[in-house]
């Protein structure tokens, strides 16, 4: 985790490699934004500009991942580009649904392979319901919230919806995942293998941490930016 001194170093002129070295999960932010590896000693600003990404936005999202409890200041939010925030959120949703959940699903499949039919059915149903819940949650954001944010940006937003409503109803998608974690860790029958349990828990923990940060990006970056634009309209 980033220390206080490192927090002050998060600047466009720092080397991309130094930023990535702060915390493993930053690599996820990098790859989802489509930034290729092999950046050598280039700075964050240089690497981002090449990819057409606003460096301040990339740093802001990185700060959420690198520093627990990070809350962006007004100045930082004003420098960020809403389009890049939305791009990041959409790409993250795709990553959760198409990569993270798939990996977890495969790990779970291996894990419960030695179990009886009854137990398999129970775990699968729980996991399928969770996937469904997560997918509905993302769908709402992509069909309602993000288009609204884009409309606000074009100054053509429908007055019937405000970002405040989203903020109020932003549901917690981590509870079921946390339950899955405890079920796998504490209550699966002993026939389940040690390594397979570890692998499944590894994917659950990383998805859990990632989703937590994702929610911070939505609540503390997306919401205040759109809020400010709504009030300026």
């Amino acid at each position: 985790m980033a220390t206080t001194t490192e927090r002050h170093l998060l600047s466009p002129s720092m080397k991309m490699a130094d930023l990535m070295n702060l915390r493993f999960s930053l690599l996820g932010v990098l790859t989802r934004m489509g930034i290729p590896f092999g950046f050598g000693d280039e700075t964050v600003e240089e690497v981002c500009r090449k990819q057409g990404i606003n460096p301040e936005t990339f740093l802001l999202i990185s700060a959420v991942y690198a520093i627990d409890g990070y809350l962006p200041t007004k100045e930082k939010l004003e420098k960020a580009d809403l389009r890049d925030v939305l791009k990041y959120l959409r790409l993250s949703h795709a990553y959760y649904m198409n990569v993270a959940l798939q990996e977890l699903e495969m790990a779970l499949e291996n894990l419960i392979a030695p179990c009886g039919e009854k137990h398999k059915r129970i775990i699968w149903k729980f996991f399928a319901d969770y996937k469904d819940e997560l997918s509905k949650h993302f769908e709402y954001e992509e069909k309602t919230v993000f288009p609204h944010a884009e409309a606000v940006l074009r100054q053509g937003a429908d007055r019937n919806f405000t970002i405040g409503e989203y903020e109020e109803n932003h549901s917690n998608v981590e509870e079921k995942l946390e339950d899955l974690k405890n079920l796998v860790m504490k209550y699966l029958p002993p026939v389940c293998g040690q390594q397979d349990t570890y692998k499944a828990l590894f994917y659950i923990f990383s998805l859990e941490e990632d989703l937590e940060k994702h929610t911070v990006v939505e609540d503390e970056i997306l919401v205040p930016i759109v809020n400010r634009l709504e009030n300026h309209e």
Binding site: R121, I122, Y130, K176, D179, L180, N182, L183
Partner: protein
């Protein structure tokens, strides 16, 4: 027999004062005074097994203050009252079974401690980490999709009691959602899969 009171108060002046009030009146007896809750003190707390704990919330740092009551209940099933001298975050005081002020007169203090003990005896005790028989019954109802009101009617309990049982079930199992509790109940053979499908 007088009820046993444990004080967790860093100020010797305050602790001695409170002890004096209790000992004068006879109904309660101070069985120990701790100045903080370090891990060795936690063991002492468990061994003393008091009926009432009176704690100065300032012994908890700011981050853990909100969970102070829950942290204490891991070591004791006593009623827990906070004792505060000045302005204090109202929200964080709600977790306690009662709140004493440094300016309360002795009779008020005794009344508040009695009230806390009475409330306490009505709420379900939850000892150990294993689910009790009643908790298992309620878990089965939850897994079958019953509402708190329906469970309360079935077992002739108050809704408040059902909610306390559910909180204890979640604390013991680490599982929060109804779907997760259903899986738990099935894995532990508390219900049959055919009864919920």
């Amino acid at each position: 027999m007088s009820k046993r009171v444990l004080l967790i108060i860093p100020s010797a002046i305050v602790a001695r004062g409170v002890e004096h009030i209790f000992n004068d009146l006879g109904e309660f007896e101070v069985c120990g005074i701790l100045t903080d809750l370090s891990s060795s003190k936690e063991a002492q707390l468990r061994n003393m097994d008091p009926d009432v704990v009176i704690v100065d919330p300032s012994i908890f740092d700011h981050a853990s203050r909100g969970n102070a009551r829950a942290a204490l209940s891991e070591h004791t099933s006593a009623a827990v009252l906070a004792i505060v001298g000045s302005l204090w975050d109202e929200e964080s005081l709600k977790q306690y079974d009662g709140v004493l002020s440094l300016y309360d007169v002795p009779t008020t203090i005794i009344r508040k401690v009695r009230a806390a003990l009475e409330d306490r005896s009505e709420t379900p005790r939850s000892e150990g980490e294993e689910l009790s028989a009643r908790e298992k019954e309620i878990l089965v109802c939850v897994a079958k999709g019953m509402l708190n009101k329906e469970i309360a009617d079935l077992y002739n309990l108050s809704i408040y009691t059902v909610i306390t049982h559910r909180k204890n079930i979640t604390r013991k199992t680490g599982i929060k959602t109804v779907a997760g509790l259903t899986v738990y109940a099935l894995l532990n053979n508390l219900i049959d899969i055919n009864t919920i499908e």
